[in-house]
């Protein structure tokens, strides 16, 4: 049993308390119990009905995603939604006041249940998040959320909450009218009693006035012309954000547009159909899988090290105040970790501080941070040109130039300056952490901690272990990555680690495609059409061609000739067309970005590459590399590859990840395609690796 009913002084209380769980979810069984419970209540003449949760910081976390994931039939989806809708209707139709008492997370179905109540009382608990995040999982709210939310909050706010999928806190909920009252968590039961006395004066209707827009807002909300503008703008911003790859937010707009003036029964029918239609799509299934994966990696622990306590990290030293170093210092300070930023001179430190401040300045511009907060956070970063302040640092992260000799020197010096407990990490993107460990005083405390650029925005951290890395070092570093709000993957020390090794293969293949007579814009467009956040040449211009080629050489030395930089890169590099930082690369970066004709002219003209072939080659080469990574046990599973590619490169989540995409192609077809390419190029780069051939012969896939 997960739902309990109690009655006292003519006030009924429904309490959600799922056994053996920290959270409550609305699964079919719970809904059924609730349904019957409500049937028993409707004949009563209660003063009020309170709906609450017994869990700390949780009201109801949402519907059961597992159940939604298992929906494959349209009709099954519709009836699952209808089962929920029916319960919500029954709550709404009770002949006495109903109050949802929310002292924690109320998402999806949990929010919809609260919406069905006549009143919502919340607390000042900062853990409260209420909203409808369904579109993030590729479907729309299915328990009446699209029907009730716009009616309660007005079209604009309701639409915004559903389309953005961003839950809000309790003070925002109070401001927009989603919460009728905010109380302290302490003494809440007594406050609820007082609230019931207050509303009992009017047993048949809501005593608070509904939301009434004024002025321009009233125009936008209340008349068809204004509403048209709202819908149009919303669709436009969805198109911009999703590039049309994600149908669910658009569907949500469509449902609301259709149902805003329809009676309940009719509106809910449209909602449940839309829900079912989307829930069975592969896109939704992929997004659900990605959600599970990201939840898993956000809470990643080291297997077999459950008894090792992570050391607390309150201060970190950062060596190298470049873009990365400044970004890391900014992230530290934002997360309450003191940062000691070292470089060889004050000018370099100034640049690092500026890089950190620019991130905060942007946040202030978007009203995400207040000046006083930024002052306090920037105060957590101090610069130094010597190793003063290192003795009490808990971790030091090296982010100096990617040159092994320099790194070794830094490691030798820094390991002397640190305490005997501190961790020494490298932010290298491709150099051997093992070699750096050997140069340090205590290799067991050395680890790779690879951030992606820009640090504050990219969610991935590759944690690179060497044969020397101690479990204590790994556990502490992993916990620290989570403290920084990042998603960690644990990777063994191997050339290019996980993400760059796969990504560089892709960029290199794009270079070959270009060399064969492709066009820069076309190849970039093929990639973005596939769903990549930017094309390979745009990416190269962002990173700098010199950086890319340098890493390619490292990969070539470590992994073989398949990473030999494509000829076009070798031709462009000496021309110093490095990308954004030199103003010109594959594109000319002026006020408007245009293709650099100087580069395009290097390509044999007349060639043309078909989109299908280009995408195939760019993807196959990545899939093959990823399979080799699995074969070499650089990471522990296919989901590590997918989470790395999604969070480190923006590989499209709607495709589920690189290897889930490979699975969707079918291994047989994949092998076939790769062998055809191998027959054509005969250089081994498309030759399916053993791991893939084994999958094929065993009839398996990357994911079970």
């Amino acid at each position: 049993m997960s739902v309990f009913y109690k009655e006292e002084n003519n006030v009924g209380t429904i309490t959600f308390d799922q056994p053996d769980s920290k959270v409550n979810v609305l699964n079919s069984a719970t809904l059924l119990t609730l349904d019957k419970m409500l049937d028993g209540l409707k004949a009563k003449n209660l003063k009020a009905l309170v709906i609450q949760s017994a869990k700390k910081d949780i009201f109801i976390a949402g519907a059961d995603i597992k159940e939604i994931e298992n929906i494959v039939e349209l009709q099954d989806g519709k009836s699952k939604a209808q089962a929920g809708q029916r319960v919500m209707d029954k709550i709404e139709d009770l002949p006495f006041p109903t109050v949802a008492v929310i002292d924690g997370v109320a998402l999806g179905g949990g929010c919809e249940l609260a919406l069905a109540c006549r009143y919502r009382v919340m607390t000042f608990n900062t853990k409260i998040r209420i909203g409808l995040p369904e579109v993030n999982l590729g479907f729309v709210p299915g328990f009446g959320g699209t029907y009730r939310l716009p009616r309660l909050l007005g079209l604009q706010q309701g639409l915004k909450m559903i389309v953005s999928a961003s839950p809000i806190n309790s003070s925002a909920a109070f401001k927009c009218g989603l919460a009728d009252r905010l109380y302290p968590s302490v003494g809440l039961p007594d406050r609820v009693k007082e609230f019931i006395e207050e509303i009992a004066a009017e047993p048949n209707k809501r005593i608070f006035k509904p939301y009434t827009p004024k002025g321009v807002q009233a125009f936008l909300e209340k008349n068809p012309l204004g509403q048209g503008v709202v819908y149009k703008e919303t669709i436009k911003s969805i198109q911009k954000a999703t590039k049309g790859f994600y149908p669910s937010p658009l569907k949500a707009v469509e449902v609301i547009r259709k149902t805003l003036y329809l009676p309940r029964e009719h509106a809910l029918d449209i909602e449940s159909s839309a829900f079912a239609e989307l829930a069975i799509t592969p896109i939704s299934k992929n997004l659900v899988k990605v959600f599970y994966m990201s939840e898993k990696y956000k809470k990643l622990t080291v297997p077999g090290a459950e008894n090792i306590k992570p050391m607390p990290i309150t201060k970190g030293a950062v060596i190298g105040a470049g873009i990365m170093g400044g970004g890391i210092a900014q992230l530290f300070s934002d997360r309450g970790v003191w940062a000691r930023l070292k470089d060889i001179n004050q000018d370099a430190i100034a640049k690092g501080l500026k890089a950190a401040y620019d991130v905060y300045a942007q946040a202030m511009k978007r009203k995400k941070a207040r000046p006083y907060e930024v002052a306090a956070k920037m105060a957590m970063i101090s610069g130094t040109v010597d190793y003063s302040g290192f003795a009490d640092a808990d971790i030091a992260i090296e982010a100096v130039v990617e040159n092994m000799d320099v790194k070794k020197k830094v490691f030798a010096e820094v390991s002397q300056a640190l305490s005997s407990k501190a961790i020494l990490a490298s932010n290298t993107s491709s150099l051997s952490v093992t070699e750096m460990a050997r140069a340090s005083k205590d290799p067991s405390r050395v680890i790779g901690f690879h951030f992606f650029n820009p640090v504050h925005r990219m969610p991935l951290i590759e944690i690179i272990t060497t044969e020397f890395t101690s479990q204590q070092t790994l556990v502490t570093t992993l916990e620290f990555a989570k403290k920084l709000g990042k998603t960690p993957v644990i990777v063994k020390d191997a050339p290019g680690f996980l993400v760059n090794r796969i990504l560089l293969g892709y960029i290199n293949e794009a270079g070959r495609l270009l060399g064969e007579g492709g066009s820069i814009t076309a190849i970039d467009r093929f990639a973005t059409n596939f769903g990549m956040p930017m094309g390979p040449f745009t990416l190269s211009d962002e990173v700098g061609l010199d950086v890319g080629v340098k890493v390619l050489h490292i990969l070539e030395a470590g992994l073989g000739p398949r990473f030999k930089p494509s000829k076009i890169f070798d031709d462009v590099l000496p021309l110093k067309l490095l990308g954004k930082k030199s103003g010109k690369g594959f594109y000319i970066h002026g006020k408007e970005r245009v293709v650099n004709p100087q580069v395009q002219a290097l390509v044999q003209s007349g060639g043309s590459i078909k989109e299908e072939e280009a995408v195939q080659r760019m993807m196959y080469i990545m899939i093959n590399e990823a399979a080799m990574i699995l074969q070499e046990k650089v990471v522990d599973g296919a989901d590590a590859v997918d989470i790395g590619m999604i969070f480190g490169t923006g590989f499209p989540p709607f495709r589920g990840g690189l290897l889930r995409y490979a699975d969707s192609l079918g291994i047989d077809k994949l092998v076939d395609g790769m062998e055809k390419l191998e027959a054509r190029f005969k250089d081994g780069r498309f030759k399916p690796c053993t791991y893939i051939l084994d999958l094929k012969s065993n009839g398996k896939k990357f994911f079970i």
Binding site: L353, Y357, A375, M380, S382, T384
Partner: protein, 425 residues
């Protein structure tokens, strides 16, 4: 009795008003110095019993600025903090308070110092204008509000009271600080030439001591532009000449005066942090203190002769230290004005002065080579709440560098006081 250890200290560069630190608040300057001291010592902040900072122009947006500095510098929230104001000796007062508390057994470790942003001392509205604005803000109807606005005249906002000017004027005797220096000029018969030469020497010593002073300075990279680091004090003028100083017009007394902008201290921004501990605790922690505070003294003098304060504070501090004037191996008399510093030197060297006040043994002639060896406030600048802490730090660094044992630092204090501290290694 427990000796008071001055464990270590650091300061920001001093920057002339409206220059490099124009956009840094006093709390920001203070926290930079405080944090850097914590960082350089890798100090366990939990050891700090209290934070005490001096500040004269205490900013309206940082009430109890010591507390603000403490929190921004990473001192635990549970550690208390308070701000002291003894005008130009606020920095000394902070250290003295720590000493008093350690001796009283209240605590053993104090983060002290001073901070000042003279660039950010506000302008004030007249009372009349304040009343109009209050009326407008209280008015309930639009016509009533408009009526209020109609009362505003240009002079209300075009002629605000300048906070800095108010602060530098004695409210009891009515004289500006520079005018009090002119009082001493007349009393001691100090010439313009003497003042200018004293000032020139200050610049020359400060310029020569660039590298030495860097030992007590943390470079500051002022935000929000973070363009470049300020490494040095910007007050000392290379190539300063006596001729250039002689050309300046008297600033405080037109026509008959001798005190100019060139022979007065500069109006400056900066901060200094000093860690004060009971000697036994410092030893326990294995620290090597810069030196020790042997005694301190504060005295009162006539407000219109405030610059003579050090001449009285020095004998008293020596008496409290159980030491003689002749024991002192280095002197620091803060250069609020060349005239005032020269007046103190002259008084201390005078038998009559000694006899009149019963200072026998505690006065004498100061060898110019031992006075303000790295220049003073005329060249370096005088961020009023900071200077007291700065001269303690400078003196102790000097004693260590020159391998000397004892020195005395002193300041005159607006309002008519003097302060002196005897420091030893």
């Amino acid at each position: 009795m427990e000796r008071i250890a001055i464990v270590d200290g650091i300061r920001t560069p001093f920057s002339k008003m409206g220059a490099n630190f124009n956009y840094l608040s006093a709390q920001e300057l203070g926290r930079i110095a405080a944090r850097e001291l914590i960082e350089r010592m890798s100090l366990d902040v939990k050891l700090i019993d209290e934070v005490i900072f001096g500040c004269v122009g205490q900013p309206a947006d940082a009430a109890n600025i010591a507390r603000v500095i403490a929190l921004l510098a990473g001192v635990p929230k549970t550690t208390p903090a308070f701000t002291v104001h003894r005008n130009c000796a606020s920095g000394i007062e902070a250290v003295a308070q720590a000493a008093i508390k350690i001796r009283a057994g209240e605590g053993v470790c104090y983060l002290t110092g001073g901070t000042e942003s003279m660039s950010n001392i506000p302008f004030f509205l007249s009372k009349e204008y304040q009343e109009i604005l209050t009326e407008i803000s209280r008015a309930k109807t639009l016509p009533a509000k408009l009526q209020g606005f109609a009362k505003i005249r240009p002079h209300h906002f075009l002629m605000p009271k300048i906070g800095l000017q108010l602060g530098l004027t004695d409210p009891v005797c009515g004289l500006n600080m520079g005018q009090t220096a002119e009082v001493l000029v007349k009393e001691f018969g100090i010439t313009r030439r003497e003042q200018d030469e004293f000032s020139l020497a200050s610049h020359q010593k400060a310029i020569a001591a660039r590298a030495i002073l860097r030992e007590e300075i943390v470079p500051v990279i002022p935000g929000p532009k973070y363009k470049e680091a300020v490494l040095d004090d910007n007050g000392p003028r290379e190539g300063q000449t006596i001729e250039a100083l002689a050309k300046l017009k008297p600033f405080f007394e037109k026509g008959t005066g001798t005190v100019t902008a060139g022979n007065s201290s500069q109006i400056t921004d900066g901060a200094c942090a000093i860690l004060v501990m009971g000697e036994s605790r410092a030893k326990e922690l294995g620290l090597k203190p810069l030196g020790y505070l042997r005694s301190f003294a504060f005295v009162g003098v006539e407000p219109n002769r405030m610059g003579i304060g050090p001449a009285h504070a020095i004998p008293l501090a020596l008496k409290k230290a159980g030491m003689k004037f002749s024991d002192m191996q280095a002197f620091e008399i803060n250069e609020a004005f060349a005239a005032q510093a020269l007046a103190c030197v002259r008084a201390l060297a005078s038998d009559k002065f000694t006899k009149d006040f019963g200072y026998e043994g505690y006065t004498g002639a100061i060898d110019p080579a031992k006075l303000n060896v790295h220049g003073g406030a005329i060249a370096l600048g005088h961020p009023v709440g900071v200077t007291g802490a700065r001269i303690i730090l400078t003196m102790l660094k000097h004693l260590n560098r020159a391998n000397l044992n004892v020195g005395i630092v002193s300041l005159c204090i607006g309002g008519g006081q003097g302060a002196a501290v005897v420091l030893e290694r």
